[in-house]
């Protein structure tokens, strides 16, 4: 398929968005991580036991509670926000592809890509 100028431009947009997303996520993570290490770096860590859903970083609501809680949990909650930003980048990418296919008038792929996006959103709703 030959590329049209607008397809090329969309590819640039996708490329920039992905890299910005990764960069943004990394910066947030590094800030939270450094703050954590500066204050709690000498605490022992033990990841051999699994807490599961008791962890304070499992959802947006638990993370926002952690942000107000102070202590180790607050800094690590910031890091987790960075992780979530990273995890959003492919979702944004899929959404941009829908835009691209719409601009190209490609109804089949608007449909296919929308199903993929809905599947991703459905995974968020699953328990």
């Amino acid at each position: 398929m030959k590329e049209t100028p607008s397809e090329k431009r969309l590819q640039s947009v996708v490329s920039v968005t992905l890299r910005s997303g990764v960069l943004f996520a990394s910066v947030i993570g590094i800030v939270g991580g450094l703050l954590f290490l500066a204050t709690y770096g000498s605490e022992t860590v033990n990841f051999s036991s699994f807490d599961g859903t008791a962890s304070p970083y499992v959802s947006l609501s638990s993370i926002s509670r952690a942000l107000g809680a102070g202590g180790q949990v607050e800094y690590l909650a910031v890091v987790q926000i960075g992780v979530i930003v990273l995890l959003l980048t492919p979702i944004v990418r899929v959404a941009l592809s829908i835009v691209g296919f719409t601009l190209a008038g490609d109804k089949t792929y608007v449909a296919i890509t929308t199903v993929v996006l809905l599947t991703l959103i459905a995974s968020i709703a699953l328990h």
Partner: protein, 279 residues
């Protein structure tokens, strides 16, 4: 050990994993999990959570370059993502029901296959031209890519088999927190007849989307711990960038063989630990 030591060690291991990934095409994730579980005694579930984060990071980081160069075929990718995302959700839901020992054994087997994969010739010298099936034609799956010899057109065959294999790749991704890039490239390159360069580029972009399909479930179940995920993510990204820079200057063939052996040894360790219920 304390947090300083832990994050530093994880970071360094992850740089190694990223380097290994860039040089072998294996993907950093597949090395991170055994390192975390076998070396640092981290619970398998935390390990696969961190691994998945790194897989998404490298996918978004690397895919940016491929898309810009026009190598990824977005249509093929999206069409196949219909299968991989559903597979990934299935795999992630299964992961919580699977005892960690069994996960370790399955992981070891997949790792063995990847080690073998790395030693295989990169692409068949004479690529069998796949005739496009009607399905592929209807979905416009063929394309053109720019090679040093000029633009090359290609068509896609056996789309339905590729689709089925992608579902399996998705399940493995969700179950083990890996990218399943190797399996995706096999499905595209060997079964669907898509040129190797396009297969690898498209797989690289797909891996992130597949990863996110399981990530929400992993997050909710508490598999993703920020203190582990962060150094893994940064390390693998850094290692992959370093690896990409070093790649032209290194004896890749020799390195691949060395790595294949090392990875195979680790694979056996994972299986043994799983069987002995040490993990």
């Amino acid at each position: 050990m304390n947090a300083h030591e832990f994050t530093l060690i994880v970071f360094l291991i992850s740089i190694g994993a990223g380097l290994l990934g860039a040089l072998t095409g294996l993907g950093g994730g597949i090395v991170v999990t055994p390192a975390l579980t076998l070396l640092l005694g981290v619970d398998m579930r935390y390990a696969i959570g961190a691994s998945l984060v790194s897989v998404v990071a490298t996918s978004s980081g690397a895919a940016a370059a491929y898309v810009r160069d026009g190598l990824s075929n977005i249509r093929i990718g999206m069409f196949l993502e219909l299968a991989t995302t559903v597979g990934a959700i299935t795999g992630a839901l299964l992961a919580s029901k699977t005892p960690t020992d069994a996960l370790a054994i399955i992981f070891g087997i997949v790792l063995l296959h990847s080690a073998w994969q790395v030693t295989q010739a990169k692409a068949s010298a004479v690529r069998k031209e796949e005739a496009p099936d009607r399905f592929s034609e209807a979905l416009q799956l063929g394309g053109t890519y720019h090679s040093p010899e000029g633009p090359i057109d290609y068509e896609v065959g056996r789309a339905k088999s590729g689709f089925g294999l992608m579902y399996v790749a998705g399940v493995l991704s969700g179950l083990l927190g890996i990218g399943s890039g190797a399996l995706k490239v096999i499905a595209m390159d060997r079964i669907m007849g898509i040129p190797f360069k396009v297969s690898t580029a498209t797989s690289s972009f797909m891996i992130g989307v597949t990863g996110v399909a399981s990530a929400a479930i992993y997050l909710k179940r508490g598999y993703i711990q920020p203190l582990i995920a962060l150094p893994v993510m940064l390390g693998v990204l850094g290692g992959a960038m370093l690896g990409a820079k070093l790649l032209p200057h290194l004896p890749v063939k020799t390195l691949r063989r060395v790595f294949a052996v090392a990875v195979a040894i680790v694979a056996v360790q994972m299986i043994v630990h799983g069987i002995r219920r040490h993990i």
